[in-house]
Amino acid sequence: MSTTPPRHSSPPFKRPRLSSPSNSHSNRLTSSPLQPPRSSHTTTAGLNYPDRDRSPLRSQRPEYELAYTFKGHKGGVSSVKFSPDGKWIASCSADKTVKIWSAVTFTYEQTIQGHTAGINDVDWAPDSKVLASASDDKTIRLWDLQSGKQILVLTGHHNYVYSISFSPIGNTLASGSYDEALRVWDVRTGSCLRTLPAHSDPISGVHFNPDGTMIVSCSHDGLIRIWDTATGQCLKTLVEQDENAPVTGVRFSPNGKYLLAGTKDSAFRLWDYMRGKCLKTYLGHRNEKFSIFSTFVVGGGWVVGGSEDSDVFLWDVGTKEVVQTLVGHEDVVLGVSAHPKGGIIASCGLDGTMRVWIDKGKMRPRGRVKD
């Protein structure tokens, strides 16, 4: 068993903020020893950096600004998720509650209670009507959004349930737990369809690919594994050879061709899982202790991730450049979520707040999303 604390537990000491909000991006860029040196953050930096896929459109930077701060939770907020229809935001916390916020009017909607211990993760069913939450009380609970009532309790895990993911058609749910098993559940009956002894350390992340044929899981043992949904067999294992740092979260790219994984060596990596090759390493943030979420931002071509220095980082997917840092949180940022249509980012963290950032810049949609 790893000594890593659960995602929501409060830190043993309050970490001083590493940088003042007045810091500019370029400061942070050059502060990383691994980033190639750059004169400025404009596109002329391409001189000493072979970024082939940069087009004039790409250089357009995001201009996210803090729009709302929600202070409802009485503990650290471990995860935040936009609903697939883009109308709601769900946040879950160490205070054993899930709170629903409107992503249209940006107001508080309701609090869902029932878990007997802190909650690690939430996920929306594809119809945006059902919500699942994974908790330290070893259960996963399914909730009806309309009534706020509990639909099902999925019991079976022997330890904290850490991460959950609905399948794209919403008939099954995958969960990863501290008991080192990956379970697949039938959402209609609540029965466990499969238990996969997937890893040798707590599982920190699970995610379905867009057509539901594969599940990816990651663990503190440093491995990322891809499973065939139909047979339950392992199809591929990925490992970062030199680092072998605990993996704290993983997800498929919107088109299902790549994986984005966060590791405790303060890096998010983009993997081509077919070739078993790491294509991009996103650096600049700090992640040594907590499980921090990262995701893709539609409409910009950004990767967004939290950081232990209480900022939210946005990287360009292709150039790995930090394009913006969102400053506002007062403690570790754990969860990030991007609006399915783009232009809005939600973040949450140990300071007990959930924050919404809106892109004030001219939005130009880049790339399609799978419906």
Partner: protein, 421 residues
């Protein structure tokens, strides 16, 4: 999407090996996979239609609307609509998004087979018990337009008056022809109908006239099934022979393109490709189906427990699936490349599923390992054990990360295209 990671040897396995599990909900009489293969519709003896989720193997939906045994089921290509036909003289079109009954059509006799138009869920063709087949259009929101289709074979006009007597005889015979099986071609422009006297009629959907007729056998034709591509078909008749035929290429023009106008009778000639029969036991075939690719044919046998699988192009028997100790009725092959076959037990009404589960590839669990057939002498690379400073290695690797990536677009996803086709 997972195809590119799957073991190619497991994919090459084209037919299932052994009985894996069974699905139970009442007494099933007829089953049908949707086009994606994630749902299996099952019609029951008590008239209830249930949908099994093939992934969770549990019930996804229960549809109540019939009071007698379900005879046939047909999915729309989108997977949203399901047509069920029953011995209670009704055909019901279900909207599965809401689980509601969209339309109910009453006939004047029990329905044998009702099949939806492949591109229009508001049109279907039904073959009826001792009645003329019907082409039904539900385009009007309330009214149901039923068009009777002819059953009499198309006979070329005779050239001399002296044969009038024979013509009369034929006409008398033709009036006894009853259509027992109907199916749309892949583009929906034509209907292939089989009669109780062993004739196959090709009927135009638009003019509702018989374009050509071929006599395959003397026996009654009980079932016609097309491959997913629509280029081949299998005909089951009660003369104990399954026949595979090529659908005439003129009938296979793509949907939405204009059909060829100058079709001659010779274009529509049907030629039997293979005949499949059990020469030893003289078994009667209960039901038959094609594999997803159309390369294999399977059939359940009358008063026997086995399912036969043939390789279609060569006509050879490749596998006899053994399973439950009971006679099997309707058989279905999963519409994806997965080797999976489902069949209904006539006595118990259970749905039996045969599958082939690939073994775990151990190399998948360890990224550095590769499975080899025999020992290989390892030749190290020139620089394999060179020692570089860690920072230097890291920097080099970071600089090598210059590949363009597209995390949003779906273009060029070969595996995905393979899955869809």
């Amino acid at each position: 999407m997972n195809l590119s990671l799957l073991d190619p040897f497991a994919l090459a396995q084209e037919y299932p090996e052994s009985l894996k599990y069974q699905l139970k909900s009442g007494h099933s009489t007829c089953i049908r996979f949707n086009w994606k293969g994630d749902l299996l519709a099952s019609g029951r003896l008590d008239g209830v239609v249930v949908l099994f989720d093939m992934e969770t193997r549990s019930l996804a939906r229960i549809l109540r609307g019939h009071v007698r045994q379900i005879q046939s089921l047909s999915w729309s290509s989108s997977g949203r609509y399901l047509l069920s036909a029953s011995q209670d003289w009704l055909a019901v079109l279900w909207d599965l998004e809401t689980g509601s009954r969209l339309r109910t059509v009453r006939f004047n006799s029990p329905v044998y087979i009702a099949e939806l138009h492949p591109h229009d869920h508001l049109t279907f063709v039904a073959s009826l018990f001792e009645d003329s087949p019907s082409l039904v259009s539900l385009h009007h929101p309330t009214k149901t337009a039923k068009h009777t289709l002819p059953s009499a074979p198309h006979r070329p006009a005779s050239d001399s008056a002296s044969e009038g007597e024979i013509d009369e005889k034929l006409a008398a015979q033709d009036s006894k022809q009853l259509t027992t099986a109907t199916v749309f071609t892949a583009n929906g422009a034509y209907i292939i109908a089989g009669t109780n006297k062993g004739w196959i009629n090709i009927i135009s959907t638009s003019t509702r006239e018989v374009l050509s007729s071929t006599r395959l056998t003397n026996g009654c034709i009980t079932y016609i099934r097309l491959t997913m591509s629509g280029r081949d078909m299998v005909v089951n008749a009660n003369d104990r022979i399954l026949r595979t035929l090529h659908v005439p290429p003129v009938l296979c023009h793509p949907h939405n393109s204009t059909p060829p106008t100058d079709i001659t009778v010779s274009d529509l000639e049907l030629e039997v490709e293979h005949k499949f029969s059990d020469v030893v036991n003289r078994l009667l075939w209960n039901h038959c189906a094609f594999s997803s690719t159309g390369d294999h044919l399977l059939a359940s046998t009358y008063k026997n427990h086995d399912i036969y699988i043939w390789e279609r192009s060569l006509g050879t028997l490749v596998k006899i699936l053994e399973g439950p100790k009971e006679e099997l009725g309707v058989v279905e092959w999963h519409p994806t490349p997965r080797p999976l076959v489902a069949a209904v037990g006539l006595e118990t009404g259970l749905v039996f599923v045969w599958a082939k589960e690939a073994d775990q590839r151990w190399s998948a669990l360890a990224p550095d390992f590769e499975e080899v057939e025999e020992n290989v002498e390892y030749i190290e690379r020139e620089d394999e054990f060179d020692i570089h400073p860690k920072e230097e290695v890291k920097r080099r690797r970071m600089w090598a990360e210059d590949e363009p990536v597209d995390v949003f677009g779906m273009e060029g996803d070969g595996a995905h295209i393979l899955y869809m086709s």
